[in-house]
Symmetry: C2
Subunit: 256 residues, 2 copies
DNA sequence: ATGTTAGTGTGTCATATTGACGCAATGATA
DNA sequence: TATCATTGCGTCAATATGACACACTAACAT
């Protein structure tokens, strides 16, 4: 019987042609002022904006690593997180020439590391805007929420990652509930609708939205109303956690 | 102004605590005899069954690597491929004790490599069963199609990967067309329906299925009928490629 | 205090979609 | 030529959807 030595003796493990660098990038969504926001960091040296991210330790799963990164960036635990795509184009780590010069200059011993191709796992996260405390990391001097239209160029392929995250979120809206992780505990129907509209990028009929949303059975209507607004006080709702979880598992149906 | 050297001087790049091993695993689906089949390989040394997979070269994207792997396994180019999840649990590379002994024995210099945790990107692929030529790789002595109920234990967490692929496929069925990559050029409505039923794991009403499928406008009905069966000869259909592509892009609606 | 205004709660109605089923036609087999 | 399982094509009630009407109310300006 041949042993594993025989089997593998011709296989070229040790040339390092298969040693890849892994990172993860997080698209962190929050909802505030009836607007969808994304958490970004600004690089210390180049002042470019980027998605928060990090590396994966050898004893961590990606999910654990992403949670660690987001705990660092927001102070929050148990964030709603989902892998959505891996980005691995060989050119994805190519910087624009000006930035590359900056990095290569100063006889920096780490520029080799920086110029490697990283295979990056994209996560999107949904967090309660009001509870997050944006905190920069080792490479950045700023961490802040940005609305989508405030975001111009991002580092590397991060714009592409952001767009894909949005696209994924839009798709998921069609077969799973959303809102629990983005809204306060109590919220109004118009607030929930605005959230949906912002993500979908289109307006929805107020009355039909309510009908459909209620039909899912994931909301508890409260007696309380939200006062202080300039108009008729809307009722407050909360999610029915039990049914919400079930709906996450089993899926909803009907698109928007 | 601080330069990048200052920025990174305290960051521990070089401990290798961030050097991960990457692999990819493919769940290759085919359809034959009205049954869904999955392509598996059998390991030379341990005789365990596994999903076909491979490593990613430093100048390849994941997609290119997966195409390379599948070209090797099936002889086919331009296979329909989709990432669906990354598997990264630290224990995922732990083998069962008996197998581990086999691998560690024989003073095999590569057993360290084999016992590493690999972060593996899961792909699923849809291929025309009749055109694929299953071919084992360097580590395997057999490559063959298996129906789902013929599959028992797979190596490592490959069963989990397979299940997740199936689950993903089921979900995708709700918002994108399927069939072009799995069926022959011409096919009958009952064949298409069987495909859907097999993936969903439940039966569908023949007449309602046809109505819904036709409503998508992705089929061309041919004048030809399929003879040879023991009963009334069903019409043949082909996919309307233009509309099929559009539907892939824009999505369908309504679930099963 | 009163009217205005914009946002809210609730309901209606025509139309489209869905699920469940009927029935005649057909092609190999007995 | 009869049988039988399967196919093509259709019906109908129930349900879901999209578009819209109308009354209500909290804050604000006058």
């Amino acid at each position: 019987m041949q042993n594993i030595r025989t089997v593998t003796q011709n296989f070229d493990f040790h040339t390092h042609q298969f040693l890849n660098h892994i990172s993860l990038d997080c698209v962190v969504f929050g909802f505030h002022d009836n607007q969808l926001k994304v958490l970004l960091i600004r690089m210390k040296y180049t002042k470019e904006w980027a998605l928060p991210g990090g590396f994966v330790k050898e004893d961590e799963s990606l999910e654990v690593a992403a949670n660690r990164v987001l705990k660092d960036r927001t102070g929050l635990d148990n964030i709603f997180l989902k892998q959505f795509k891996v980005f691995s184009e060989p050119q994805r780590s190519d910087r624009n020439p000006a930035v590359k010069d900056l990095i290569d200059s100063g006889s920096n011993p780490d520029h080799e590391w920086f110029n490697q191709r990283f295979i990056s796992i994209g996560f999107y996260a949904l967090v309660d805007f009001s509870k997050a405390e944006p905190t920069p990391d080792f490479f950045s001097d700023l961490c802040a929420w940005k609305t989508l239209d405030e975001i111009n160029t991002l580092i590397l392929d991060h714009s592409q990652i952001l767009n894909k995250a949005l696209e994924t979120l839009r798709l998921q809206l069609n077969y799973q509930p959303l809102g629990y992780n983005l809204l306060a505990d109590k919220f109004t129907m118009p607030e929930l609708q605005k959230l949906y509209e912002t993500i979908l990028g289109k307006e929805l009929d107020r009355r039909n939205f309510q009908r459909k949303m209620l039909s899912y059975g994931i909301l508890n209507k409260l007696q309380e109303r939200k006062t202080g607004g300039a108009h008729k006080a809307p009722y407050l709702y909360e999610f029915n956690l039990e049914n919400y979880q079930k709906a996450l598992q089993n899926g909803l149906f009907g698109g928007w």
